[in-house]
Subunit: 494 residues, 4 copies
């Protein structure tokens, strides 16, 4: 499409990686610490599960000015050497890990790697965000017509151009003005020469927390990134809040019209790390509780409760505890799998899931096995796992899924297939069970999921407490660009 | 020391990696399949836990002759591209993954990466081995005096030079003659233009299995490497056996004087993958059984049984099941840790275990926690984990270790610190408990371990069924080179 | 200064490379040929002497859109593999080789490598230019104030932003409008999806030629780039002309107010390749003629005329022919010198000119030697060469310089030291002779140089036929940004 | 053929590079200087014309022992960074540049890159050599039969194995014994922990000089490598001499039966650098004298004497001076050509000589041109150059060749095509003239060449003063391996 696209393509993902949802980004920022880049690198390493394709760091130092480094690949492989860190001096810095852009599924180009930087008349600013702008295409078109030159296919660049065209006298003012023009889900971390800025969209779809590290402050997508550097959780940045952090402390702004929050419920199910705290709740404990609910909603006689590693493990522990059926590692994950094979040969591509998972045949043989997995997307991996389990001699295979059927794509920063690729978009639970060829298949109910995250009465259908569009098809923010391209919203009949 | 040493040094391991034992090698070979290199790469990927520093593959094709590729780093990063695989044509191939040489703890040089190749008057042969020759230094000295030129610091090269000097008329004959001169633990996989050869030392210290894949045959250190390519386990190569595999089938030779076998018991505890089968027993099930034995031998009142991931998991499941105390993931492992940070900056080095593990604070807080780990080597990691758990607010910390105290170094292919670095070499269980600062610390007994691996009566002190030198100090093969360098064998008094 | 600066720095030049003037760029474009990228790569290879630090190519293909590749280093090392060329499909393409930016003497950043690309509402365009805009800093400041985001430190980017803000309905219209706002010396090559565009500034300071290749057309800085691909020279693009080339042919526009041309006379002396044709004159023949003039103006009794390789060779041949003194290779150049040593160790840096040149001692010994060089910049290399020649036993050393004293910096696309670093800015010919310690030193006169390039009556002082600001201090275009920064123009007294 | 061959192949040469002879190696050694590796790197840089594919350096330091580095590519790109040099500590070191092995024309493997290293019972030694052993295949076969393991396809490795098997008590003793068993042309540079050793074969076919640098000593293939580091030429190592250099000084040994010397006459014509001194004679001056002889032997009426750059230049200068016909640069060489294009695309491969050379059309047009080249090998380049010259409008083209017809391959360390690929092996001068399609073609006579190198009476047919086998077919050393493979020596009839 655009120039430079050929230059630095991302490595392809493995085919069987297609059958999972991927958070698209993680953000991190720190101010008031020596060698900020080191802390940013560690924070991004802790957030690596939110984006494995590329990472970027920007820092500022009064003498050296703004400096940045962007690399394809893991944080640990690219951002931990003296050689790189010493090119990033300063006591303030932000960083970003990413999976892929909404517009560029084929791979990440280096020029799309955040943070983005803009030089304004009052100085420079760097911006990174987690989420997705639902009106980015429209904004982009308008900005180009007025003479902005885009360098990337990333929607984050819209924010920079909107800031450049703002008449605001300070960078935070310009950011407020810019963000009032964008729609969608976003948790932004930004920096100027002296300020660290964090913003969450009005609904607070994506997470962002504020922490304290000695005399400095930290912003991060998840609390696990505070833990790794020994920072203390202060609070979440609130939906619709902008925090501006300087050496003097934290100022709170409210640039947007207040609205009831709609945090992404899938963060609890899958995206966030189990050792993170979301909305005051332990992710691990929520997932274990999902397993408990699932055991209550969908019991079955069996000999073994077995997680599909690694994401199904907490729910499997909960299911086993509630049901009294023994817990066991019936599937073993190859810990050296990493993100991907580089240019795998055809023979290796066809190995699929066997490269990553092996059945513990001695444990499985002759048993009635309950497999607990986090979700079913296309169903291709589920089929392969079922085959492996049966090949190993299991007597019965029962799938229990720790989320409701994923029937709708996400437009708020999660990489999902098109709607018709989602198994649940066109099959009932029974049809999926037959399609996968298992003895039983049960998803947790939407109410059961809400109970597990702490809503004792389940989902409020009038005013849902979370964004659950991927399950319910009820989109709290109109996906304007997608509708423009022809996406059909849920009708009253559905 | 020698030339070329400066050329290609291995990456340094992280400091906290020092506090674990490492299997030094894994071997794999295949004959009678199209594109053998692809299968070797997959097999080595499944054996990656046995050696992460480097890997090598040799194949033979009637037209292209012998070809090899050797790389530092993971199999998945180096041996899966078309570009590499097409340089390795042929229907026969062998491969090797390695951790480090006995003589070269500072890192692996490329020239030390197996398989080794030798051109003899009757043709070429490639050799790879898992284990350690206990008289390699003596052999090397003699061979140099007679005019052999060594290219590496690997003891495997002795085998090649002994073969070169043999008067045997076939390569298997020369290998027999060579192996009769070496002492130590070795599972060898070798190939000529037409033959795949596997040998285990007379005591069968290290594992080696034989499998069938269509019309072809496979040799591998562990059964998990058969699973990944869909091969079927035929049997283990027996202690003291040499198998010579051609298109026609498998010939069995017995080059050595028969002796009772002494398989490495630590393979059950830690080295092998939980989904492998050793001596007909599931490694996962053995480890779970160790947890059961440990719960019987060393019960304690507590609220949570928590594995130290990942190796403590099966024993923790067993301990929880036997004790009735809930099982939970109190420690979460960063799956993006990989082998190492490349040239970590000082600040990052000091992060130590926090880069790899995080405590699930919400789960741990206020609980009496039983931590189940596989072993205690230097004790440094155990101390750090204890501190993390207490910082997270645990009420009590009880360590339960799935192996007896490791008090002696291994000279049979496992990388262990010098004896005085082993905590158990100079401390009793009580002293270690005080040193680590935990509420209790208990190791499984040696008899308990033997029971868990299926010896109902425990260890036979007259004629132990396994090699357990690291626990007992009873070395079934005299470590001649080490004694020459001053190592003190266990005295009657000890 | 700006973000990303740390990412990809250029390799440092060797110290003794400081003592030469460097053309900053070469441009090339082609339309109407299969696999345009191949031709662009060859053309840039032929223009490599105009810029060795980096190169970039953009092509367009109806299906693949615009694609680009930019690399640090030589064309031959980066743009000749299948792998790169196949990422650049299309029948239209442009390219650029560069030495360094005016604003960024420390090295070239990847983001400064041309061509630059902009997406406008009517489609994309790529732009590359050879020259220097003398009001770029002012334009940049204004554009930033109005909301443009700059991605590079290159003055070429101003052109793209001016085009983006133009209300013109076609890209050539926008380019005309943009170029009417810039001042300075520029030869621009640009492309849209269907058009190849070439422009020279009103004075025509930098060269640009138009050629024919089969049914296609070519634009190039010099004719040697036509020769390498077998294209035929049609004519020069004229000063102040814009040519727009499509499948149908060449349209000529005149966007600027007509002015008398002032082509850079130093292109004849040094920058252009000797096999190129400038203004209908052979560069080689002009240089030989300079030698002839020099022999007439500054004869001396000697035994040997010796060029300082390689640029002094044609003038030395002319001097020898005119004077009757034998010509010989008294200095031999190491053809493997290349652009630079990568990170040379201190010892090697200090070797200076000996790495590149060696004296042919047997030839020099006892002789009175006339050394013919192209220019004297700082004088450091001249001193070292003189020392080498005397060490080798020369009886006398006479320097003859094929250009007048370089006393003023160039602001039109040539990388010159600050004025006070130029030896001729503060020394007379006699002082320089004493400073260098040679037996005689003579520069060609400005009139002699004009005669050699074909102006039989020499320079017209009222209305000079060429730009000779570096010799005369008479700048045909006011260097506005430099004057703003404090540069002192020549006073009437000088 | 052998393992590891696939690992690290050399870059392919361009097709038109096939049409030249290539020296296969250059050697350098130094003792008694601080940071010897720096000097070795500089010396090898000066010898780069003797081998461009790869280079290697070994040094020894009492603390760090022997260290080595080997790289594909140019010295300046690989051996000048601090990073590499600091891995090569010590005050003694040797190095080698190479073109290709005799056995491995397809490219150089890293394992074939010299120096080679061997650990003997009395310590280690590194060996590098320039030349070719004519009985290497026989020696290799015998050594393998006795149990030596070869790691490379290089004939130098035979020397190491012969040394390993020697009963000599010192390394110089072992080297003497080894070298008495080899046949062929060799100039060896070797080192132990404390000694620098240089040897030339009994005929002294390849050059080797001894120099002095402060308190240290230097060995080098050519004097230009002394010049670059400021060392002073002491003398040539004599044919059949072994020098052993220590801190105390230089010892001279005579390991071989004395024989009349037969230095390679082609070193004067082409291989050596024009600024080197061979046998007390300036190479430049010899080549100029060849041009003078050629003008006497083969005069022709013409307008221009034009060298084929760069190697034809001195002879063209001589021809022009003797004939009185003007000298001019009718062909211009692209100085950025370098060794090769990496993986050139087909289109670029077909460009052939135009990538490297361009005709100075303005100079050539309408002229009768004498082209002076160093040699004709296959004739393919000569044809292309002739076409370029005629295309440019030359009236006549006369080739004058500065060597006699090359009709026989060299087996003494020069890479020549098989005999039937040599144009002169099956064509007379007249036939070649017709084949090339030029107006006249004349080679210097063998006697003329001898006169130019200083033999006033020409060649002594009974006892030729030089090795001129490539011209005469008279091989002073029987090429035993080649004869074994079927090479037909010259018969009495020829």
């Amino acid at each position: 499409m655009s120039a430079a696209a050929a230059e630095d393509r991302a490595l392809p993902s493995l085919p069987f990686d297609d059958d999972a949802l991927h958070e698209e980004c993680g953000v991190f920022g720190v101010i008031g610490v020596t060698d900020a880049a080191n802390f940013v690198a560690l924070g991004l390493h802790a957030l690596q599960h939110r984006g494995q394709e590329a990472a970027g760091i920007v820092t500022h130092d009064p003498e050296a000015g703004f400096n940045s480094a962007r690399r394809m690949g893991y944080v640990r492989d690219n951002f931990t050497s003296h050689e790189v860190i010493r090119t990033l001096p300063g006591t303030i810095g932000i960083g970003h890990v990413r999976y892929s852009t909404s517009g560029n599924k084929g791979g990440t180009a280096m020029r799309d790697v955040q943070p983005f930087f803009g030089e304004f008349s009052m100085g420079g600013a760097a911006v990174a965000h987690n989420g997705n702008l639902t009106n980015a295409a429209q904004l982009r078109k308008e900005l180009i017509e007025r003479g902005s030159i885009f360098q990337s296919s990333s929607d984050t660049e819209c924010i920079i151009h909107l800031m450049a065209r703002s008449m605001g006298r300070t960078i935070p003012d310009r950011m407020e003005e810019a963000l009032r023009k964008v729609e969608g889900a976003f948790s932004v971390v930004a920096m100027t020469r002296t300020k660290l800025i964090g913003v969450r969209d009005p609904l607070g779809v994506r997470p962002l927390v504020l922490g304290r590290l000695g005399d400095g402050y930290v912003l991060a997508s998840e609390t696990c990134a505070l833990d790794i550097i020994g920072a203390e959780l202060m609070r979440e940045v609130e939906p619709g809040e902008m925090v501006v952090v300087t050496g003097e402390g934290v100022e709170s702004h409210r640039p947007f019209r207040p609205r009831p929050s709609r945090f992404c419920i899938f963060e609890h199910v899958y995206f966030s790390r189990p050792d993170s705290i979301l909305g005051g709740k332990s992710v691990y404990e929520t997932r274990r509780q999902i397993g408990v609910e699932l055991a209550k909603e969908a019991p079955v006689e069996a000999d073994l409760v077995c997680p599909v590693p690694d994401s199904g493990t907490p729910a499997a522990i909960g299911y086993a505890a509630e049901s009294g059926i023994p817990y066991g590692m019936g599937i073993v994950r190859n810990q050296y799998m990493g993100r991907t094979f580089i240019e795998p040969s055809e023979q290796i591509r066809n190995m699929g899931v066997r490269l990553k998972l092996n059945v513990n045949r001695a444990l499985i043989r002759g048993k009635r096995v309950i497999l607990v997995d986090d979700s079913v997307v296309r169903g291709t991996t589920s089929r392969k796992i079922k085959e492996m389990i049966l090949d190993a001699g299991a007597a019965e295979v029962h799938f229990r899924i720790a989320s409701p059927p994923t029937a709708w794509p996400c437009f708020y920063g999660v990489d999902t297939p098109e709607r018709d690729k989602l198994l649940a978009s066109h099959m009932s639970e029974e049809e999926m069970c037959a399609h996968l060829g298992v003895d039983s298949l049960r998803f947790i109910s939407l109410d059961g999921l809400y109970r597990a995250v702490g809503e004792a009465r389940g989902r409020d259908p009038e005013r849902p407490q979370y964004c659950d569009a991927c399950f319910s098809g009820e989109y709290p923010i109109v996906p304007a660009d997608m509708v423009e391209r022809g996406f059909q919203l849920k009708t009253a009949a559905e």
